[in-house]
Point group: C2
Chain length 359, copies 2
Amino acid sequence: MKEQKGTEESALFVMDGVKGGHDGLSKISPKKFRKKKDDKFDLQKLAADIRSGNRIALSRAITLVESSNSEHKEQAQKLLQELLPYTGNSIRIGITGVPGAGKSTFIESFGTMLCDKGKKVAVLAIDPSSTLSGGSILGDKTRMEKLSRTSNAFVRPSPSAGTLGGVHKKTRETMLLCEAAGFDVILIETVGVGQSETYVRGMVDFFLLLVLTGAGDELQGMKKGIMELADGIIVHKSDGDNVNRARKTVREYKQILHFLQPATPGWMSTSLAVSSIAKTGLKETWEMICKFEETVKSSSFWDLRRSQQTKDWFHNMITDHLIESFYNNKDNKNLINDLEKSILHGDITVTQGVKRLFE
Amino acid sequence: MKEQKGTEESALFVMDGVKGGHDGLSKISPKKFRKKKDDKFDLQKLAADIRSGNRIALSRAITLVESSNSEHKEQAQKLLQELLPYTGNSIRIGITGVPGAGKSTFIESFGTMLCDKGKKVAVLAIDPSSTLSGGSILGDKTRMEKLSRTSNAFVRPSPSAGTLGGVHKKTRETMLLCEAAGFDVILIETVGVGQSETYVRGMVDFFLLLVLTGAGDELQGMKKGIMELADGIIVHKSDGDNVNRARKTVREYKQILHFLQPATPGWMSTSLAVSSIAKTGLKETWEMICKFEETVKSSSFWDLRRSQQTKDWFHNMITDHLIESFYNNKDNKNLINDLEKSILHGDITVTQGVKRLFE
């Protein structure tokens, strides 16, 4: 079978019937797909195709994971369970920054450099509001054009603006699929909106923050506490007239980082100047990440964090489920609204409100 | 009736029977208390006593609010509802800092100065682990000896180490009781442990962070993001040889604050050097808080924040209740433990774990 490379457009349209023809992978339109009750979903075949590095199979599996169809959900979980033993072998890198910091350009240059080094790089995006950030499926494709065409790379844009809860849940599972497909480096891009950085920090090993020169002004627009999540801060667009200013900004960030508690115990977060156009600082960024990996793996914290992340994920999903199913109940919702009014009006105390709600 | 001042020891022992004798306030030991089913709890009397500024009545009401007895709980809520119209007229100040920063000494000096100015000052403490911080009922009493004896002051130590959820819930209601009793300034002290600062930030107007000189080293031990909660940072123990170093530290903090998003929209968080022993910087601290009040009240944010805090409190209590009652179920707990093991062992996915849990 021919190895499929680079783009995954075709796979975006094959959702209705995951089971395919002889090779389990041929493109099936919903109309052509004849569903039989006794048709068993060929899980083993898909899992094997993913493990062999087939991009179409991987894309199809991701689409399956992202589907809200209950049958697909069940199939997705079976597939993930099948692939779990082959996950966990990548380095997981989260990348964030204000809009305009040049995240896509950086990922394009950085990812291409890693591919040239022989690394297999998967790029995933968490974008809770693609209209706000200007990012979109087409946007990502265009922006990371070169990387998308690189044989060692796999670029999976954010499916759509949606609830963050859903998106991050899927991104975590998508990451596992990419690991099973043999990717060494997973880059998860997010914008500084809502809780997305905290979610991404909760699923990666290394968290990278992209900023521009003029740190103070720049950070005004960023979320509180974001710097304290970062294992490394890239001062981007360090090219042309901007080189000296970028160096100065790097020094400023290093100074600030000195005041903050490290994001990862045993690792002193640091700052670097990078130009994705002049291709400077990219090698140093990778060296920084490799040194981080070495340092943190030599303590027990690497595995500890990953176990803790899995546990946290489980408990967050339990909490999400509890809250969601409670607030989704229409009677509860109406009663909460009424009680909220009474509380703000000073008619009842908050504790009384809670008591009445659960009576 | 004689006005009771300063200490509230006696009130700490009257919990069993809130209803007293003729004046509703006499000390009753559990043995002496004869409970009659038709005995109506004299709510109006207690409420009136609190509003008249009677400290014993206030202490008794706080003990009632803190009680876990279901009958007391109900009485406490009725009392709070009665007093709600008289709450909200104080300035609520949260104070935090690393152990050793001198929070109690600062509160003693600052509170005494405010009392001398004619302000009525209530001091409450949230201390989720009094053994860890060295704080305790006796400790607080001893440390704030002078303030405790000041007629305009009311010092209520943290009842005991306990679950934070319970403590903060009670502290918020205790704050309301103190406001109904006519206190102008509420100082809520907390240590930098767990989520306590976030809880305190969620119930105060102004949040003050106490630090020592040598900012960088000092903050290493503090929680992440704590600086970004602060409306003001006091560099404490600015006395003797330490004055110049304190001034330098103030400049450093001002520089860092410039890089951070303000804790309160429209207010530029700032830093001051204070000595509680030499009594320097205390007046300036109060001026800063007054200027803050004026600035934030002139925008609509003052009322907006308070409404939002009440709403958040309501929703947090709903969430707490949901999670608590779910995790308190023994079957759920056992199943969660088993599922957690299976997940960490790689037998099932997190999503499968959640699904099985709710099946």
